[in-house]
Symmetry: D3
């Protein structure tokens, strides 16, 4: 039994609130256990230089933590004057993951900025950010769809992420901070609703892992991500509360 | 009548939630109208270099906004690599204001870090930060008091802040963003529970103001701050819910 | 009696030299007691991005101190790679104050850069900068007026600033450094020739002040600023030495 | 057939030169096809703050490219004043990978700095850096072993890395730049001599991949890495040319 | 004849005022023609890390220009967040030059900071800085000599600098800005009172120069520097006005 | 006799390899003794802002060292976030020197970037960079000449550089690091094939030098540079191996 009473293959409770920040085109407050993240999606009518004139859009992400999201206060990156390697890695991961399910050619020359701000951190902040951002992204794209009378959302699949790992020799789903900090193997997996991999990042600083363990970890992750996508589907259908919600939920 | 239906001398609704972030020694989620700020207080057992060996403590503050707290997404200061002049001004103001009601000599050689992170901005973010931070500060000091068996909190008075201004020739209390952005005069006032001024910052870029207007603005601010301190007192007494709460509320 | 022999309501000696730097469109060397500042005004034929196409001009300020302006050598901000919060605050204050008496719509799409470089610091460097910069600004605008055959200077009023404060319980005008460093209350006031307030920044880190004290401090400041504006008027009339000087002095 | 005539499961030619930089404790010039990297290992007798007093050592890595390693000249990160997200990711990956096969507790309180400088880039620069750095690391540790009369090298296994990917629907080993830039799936794999995974980083920005494809990619990578480790073993035995070389090659 | 009426081998008027900034241990306002520089010398009781425990002192220099020292306003290096290559070169040159005539072993473990701030620039700012700083340095050392009862100043020789160059084919001493900006050859020379070279920096971006021209330029510089040292000697003897001035002037 | 057995007026062995980096328009690996530098020349079809519309080109240089080029590992400038004063000086020197032999008006509005990356440092890295870069520059210009059917290379002369100095009272050519680090006088000289000076930078921090010593040092440098230019000529003629090589070698 895990320290919070979960089974090895059990997710922490998931709670997703849409429309959390009034100004953003899409915004979500996602809580997975004690990890809490505000995800917003902002539409800007311009693209990075390398896409100018391409008729194609872009999705990019930024990630940060409030100083006291962590047990020990973290110094702000704005005060240090630079973004840490860890932050860079995470925001590149979130951006890449979301782009994998967006049809950028149908987005037009505009950029969706995803902002993930961790209010409270208890492990899995990057995967929670991806799972929550997907909903904020869908909401922002739905607004664009309505404004520009698109026939369908430029989304090709559902998307969620979780972490798995090996802790004290046991393979576990959805590590909280105390598990993550002593894990021998740590793996972040991003998958689509149709069961394909978008990102697999397995790391074994302390103890390299066998092919067999890898197979089991991927299975654990797959089952967890399916449940997260179920949660996403409920939120999009139950909360949207407007004509067309079903069509929205079905359109990808 | 103001655009949100308020009287000229009426505050927006105030809501203060204590214990918002589990790890922080003190934490508050304060909402004044649509302005929402997370304030945390962190205790660190060290002081800035200029206080080393002085047996005296320090209180300092940092302030930031989530990128989408604003109507147009604001670029992160961590991405720009430096803190703007506006942010510097605000965090210096918050720190100075809080220090004015703390007896630093009784704090011991430790620093209280106040972090104010604006989740949603609709005018008055700096004054809302001060009003909320005061509660987070009291909570952190209460923990220190219990841990070190201090006889009393090293707090000398209540503290709150609000903005007043002249908009279309009319003097108003607690400006929301749409009022603030067209104000001829903008004044931030920080006061104590005993009715003394800690900071008065009046600015009239567009239209210098007379002594008579100044007097009226200060009166408006005083009345508003008294109501904010009433709100603070309710929260400290009603929510603390532990033996000694009364003593805490009365000790300054 | 104050340590330099002044009465509580007495300014230090004021000396203003125009045309100090040969290349600048306007330049002033101002000495108030031992505080010495070089103020220059530079005309650039462009505006910040937010004013492009607005047919309106801009006035902005920068402030710095020579490393040895202070008793202990101050590290250069260029060497530290960033501008301190204090410097940000001061240059924003100077810029705002000067803009309050310039009719930006008559300036055309150009920017006046005000540079205030403190050669020697003995308290009141920001208010001295404002008082001196006003003259440099008028000189630069006079050149523009001559060059473009404007009918009048786009200046709406005289402008000067001083500090007041409470030191050892006594209310004093124009604090020198040794007074300022032990003041219980410190207030910077910027006023126009017609007696209106542009900025009032009162701070009481150590000892909050009553409404009555505030009233007395504002009165002290008002009297001091009137004398500073008298000094400005003498300089503009006596030194300009060219036909039209009277018209210049009277035009605002 | 691939554009350079290789089979899908064929590595590019591998060439490893030891002792390339005379001053470094370990140094290697590694060429894999047209990708060329200088790897050095430097011993410093101190550890990062979080390890002080722990009696444990550390291995960390830095990575850079000469401006003209790439087809289009890349602006130096020193000129930009900051390290890109990509560089951060790569140097964290190299450091983690090497630490996975070092017994840090036997290293003593010292740090091995690995520097990977890409002289010419044609795909796979991060995996080439890992494969080359391992040899430089062993050489530096061998010097320490001799100097401090350690009984054995604090190395627990061989280590090498390669990239695999899906290009035009075909699964390929060891992508060169022109393949990498159009790959649907890109995966970097770091493995040990005993066939365990240290890092698996699979990314499918354009086209998520199935579990079956993942299995095949891992198999391709495993075969390639075994050949790279064979190459490493030849270099360590053939070039060391000193008594004890066999013992060195066998000791992990 | 030169544009300001000078002969080819004629210096501009030189004016040196000592004791210009009240707080600095040594301070000089030096004017050579329209080039005006404030030079201060500050004593700090510590040395750079590489000299700790060496019983030896250090002399280092910083150089800056007020934004409007130049015809076109120069952006502040503090605003740009970094020091330009030109500034770096100049401050290294000033520091090296002054160190060449200081007996650092007699200085004790302390650092003399030389600050050269150009108030108005009209060519030759770096050589003017060296010539002026030498006097500020002597004044600061004289204070140390008095305070610590040294037997003699740790100065080994007089030091001054000037520029020479080839303009329109003619060899000229002490270039003003308009000459310097069109010079085919530009050379800065630093020499001692005993006629030895400390620095010779000749540059011919536009038109390489012959050995014969070099010889003539060095002769021009030597004559000019002798006159500058005469000026320095007058200032040290005439202005010091205290017992021991002769001894000071003769001691090196 | 010198520590590596050379005569005072003897260069270290010189080895120049052209075409070292496949992508660069010009690239050279130059070794002078144990000092090893990669020099590349990159053509970019744009010029710095101050040359826009001038129909003139530009040549600029950047210089860096691998961290372990030096005996003690040097911290990367990208990690420090800024370029040191020494690097600035060197890259300005290299750029100026190369521009002195390029007819910029014939280059067209394009920039040649010279990158000098020191792989191993044993004294004379800046002069070695200049000598090697000249060949890379010629190669890049030769490509432009062929592409645009220029009649001749826009090169006006050969160019090379060396260091000379006074070590233990003896005047030496081409100082290696151990000589350089204890030199009383250090002088870098850049000369053309026709025997004219482009740069002379003599420094005597420890011991100012006489006019006679200067004359001898310049003679030593001149002889050394003539030999370096002989080496350059051999490489351009022997290695180019293409029709037109003679014409290339003769054209300046």
């Amino acid at each position: 039994m895990r320290e919070d009473g979960r089974q090895p293959d059990q997710l922490r409770p998931v709670k997703i609130s849409r429309g959390y920040i009034k100004n953003a085109e899409g915004s979500v407050f996602i809580e997975i256990g004690e990890t809490k993240v505000i995800c917003t999606a902002t539409v800007e009518e311009k693209v990075p230089p390398f896409l100018k004139g391409s008729t194609q859009g872009w999705v990019t992400a930024e990630y940060a933590m409030l100083p006291r999201a962590t047990q020990i206060r973290t110094v702000r990156e704005s005060a240090k004057g630079k973004i840490s390697g860890r932050t860079h890695e995470i925001q590149r991961l979130i951006g890449r993951s979301l782009r994998s399910v967006v049809d950028l050619s149908k987005l037009g020359e505009r950029t969706i900025y995803i902002d993930c701000d961790v209010i409270q951190a208890d492990g899995g902040t990057r995967t929670t950010s991806i799972t929550g951002s997907f909903i904020a992204l869908v909401d922002a794209l739905t607004k664009l769809k309505q404004e520009y009378h698109w026939k369908e959302l430029p989304i090709t699949d559902w998307l969620a992420a979780t972490s798995v790992g090996k802790v004290n020799g046991e393979l576990l789903l959805d590590l909280c901070y105390s598990e993550d900090s002593k894990a021998e193997v740590d793996m972040n997996v991003v998958m689509t609703g149709s069961g394909k991999f978008v990102e697999v990042q397995g790391t074994a600083e302390a103890d390299p892992f066998s092919r067999n363990e890898m197979d089991q970890l991927l299975k654990l992750a797959e089952d967890g991500i399916n449940k997260l996508i179920d949660a996403q589907k409920k939120v999009l259908i139950l909360e949207l509360g407007s004509p067309g919600e079903d069509e929205c939920a079905k359109s990808f």
